[in-house]
Point group: C2
Amino acid sequence: MTQPIRIGIVGYGNLGRGVEIAMRQNPDMQLVAVFTRRDPATVKAGVPVLPVTAADEYRDKIDVMLLCGGSANDLQGQGPMFAAKFNTVDSFDTHAKIPEYFDLMNKVAGDNGHISIISTGWDPGLFSMMRLLAGAVLPHGQDYTFWGKGVSQGHSDAIRRISGVKDAKQYTIPVQEAIEQVRAGKNPKLTTRQKHVRECFVVAEPGADLAKIEEAIKTMPNYFADYDTTVHFISEEEFAAKHQAMPHGGFVFRSGNTGSGYQHIIEFSLKLANNPEFTASVLVAYARAAYRLSQEGQTGAKTVFDVPLAYLSPKSGAELRRELL
Amino acid sequence: MTQPIRIGIVGYGNLGRGVEIAMRQNPDMQLVAVFTRRDPATVKAGVPVLPVTAADEYRDKIDVMLLCGGSANDLQGQGPMFAAKFNTVDSFDTHAKIPEYFDLMNKVAGDNGHISIISTGWDPGLFSMMRLLAGAVLPHGQDYTFWGKGVSQGHSDAIRRISGVKDAKQYTIPVQEAIEQVRAGKNPKLTTRQKHVRECFVVAEPGADLAKIEEAIKTMPNYFADYDTTVHFISEEEFAAKHQAMPHGGFVFRSGNTGSGYQHIIEFSLKLANNPEFTASVLVAYARAAYRLSQEGQTGAKTVFDVPLAYLSPKSGAELRRELL
């Protein structure tokens, strides 16, 4: 029996906890420690919890560090810091900054002899892979991506900042009719409003002006003004009972024609009961790939586009060919 | 402008013609010649048509040879013959023989410094990739593959061998109710009969005993006995008008749970108006990958599991990260 791949987690929020949970299903890996910026005494995990500053001592005890912080505030600093000392996998998802983040991680990981797989998860991640694959097979065609039904953290936060709002969850929901048009090969031109609707569940402060809150949501630029938005005011009890899950998902289509004009439709979809646990499972599969790439002597930054699928599976090449090809 | 990748086609049936058609959509490639076992004078293509035996003279003029013969009779011989002289891509799909074929091609291609990507297309091929990817992300779960609606060549041939049958087409059709159960996360146990039905369109010889033909089809072991089969007798005119297209497609699902028990469903589907043209488009994308792997100095046999997705696209790594990640 070969040694398990030794894993560390940096950041113990929903994603970090998801990684710990995913470890149970991947017996070729072993979670060694969790690193946090909080007071470690306040964080309970199934393995030692240490301050981020203690990571240095684990350079020979951890094969791959999974960076589970957010893109907005954590990864641009933590990414290079950890890539200097460890192989890393992250879910950096600030789209506009990916090229710059890749270059930075590529330099630091490369200079230090490590592998850093960036921007894994499902979008960026699995959805990106489908867009690449489908576009390579059908060079003449059109891509469509729909998200949801799922909770958007950013939109929920935006509602919570409105005066008189105590708590809120916002669901992004794809328009079924638009999906059906794409699936039927009609290649529709769809506006923002025609692709998704937004549904908000809001707990108001006692005595708050509900009409005013609803108006503030529906007219909020960037977040809601371009969408058909529904607002439901509900009790704190109902909110606690029905809106704590973190479902998400979505659809990637490519509708294209081959040279004689025949139409072909490629569809990929995810229906996820728990977004962070699923995302964590993708990170864990890429941790296996990072370890193998590193064992081969490869270095630098990689994305899901650069990693052969075989590296994600614990099975050997011969097993994969026999069982899955 | 870099030189285009120089492509050869071996075997000019539906798949070979599909490759020629796909070349129009891939300006970074150029079709150099078609090689056939028929009398080249009887084959009309847009490039020189030559006997298979003339391929030797093209060793320095073709970068990748696309082997477009069938698995049953052509590829086991042609594969190694061409892998000794060229980089190759094929669609070998006799599932039980893939491990043996891989080993043979790996040895011949490796010994001669070539790359051979075997078993591309959509199943094996894209569907296999989805099974690997989904299984790596959701280690605890269940796979479902449905095929169709599409023409099965083998089943159509079987019907044509029945006495009194002049022509026939058989469509494999997935059972919609079974798909809906899987999509809804019910993890059904499905028998062969519950997954697909078979629909046959038959042109009978004048005076043939239709009841006897129908009985012979429906009770045919391996091919039809385990399925609910419908037989329609139609005129030669209707057959010519309505049953010449070659549609196909199918669905790959993985329904699995992450460690806390949350259920997730990954679905991939294809709806193809023309099976050989689509399959050819997959081969062409893998021809690009074969060329690049070869340029890097890699040798031996590869499958879709071994090739990073980036190698399939004409775009650069930076373009892919900016546009598709």
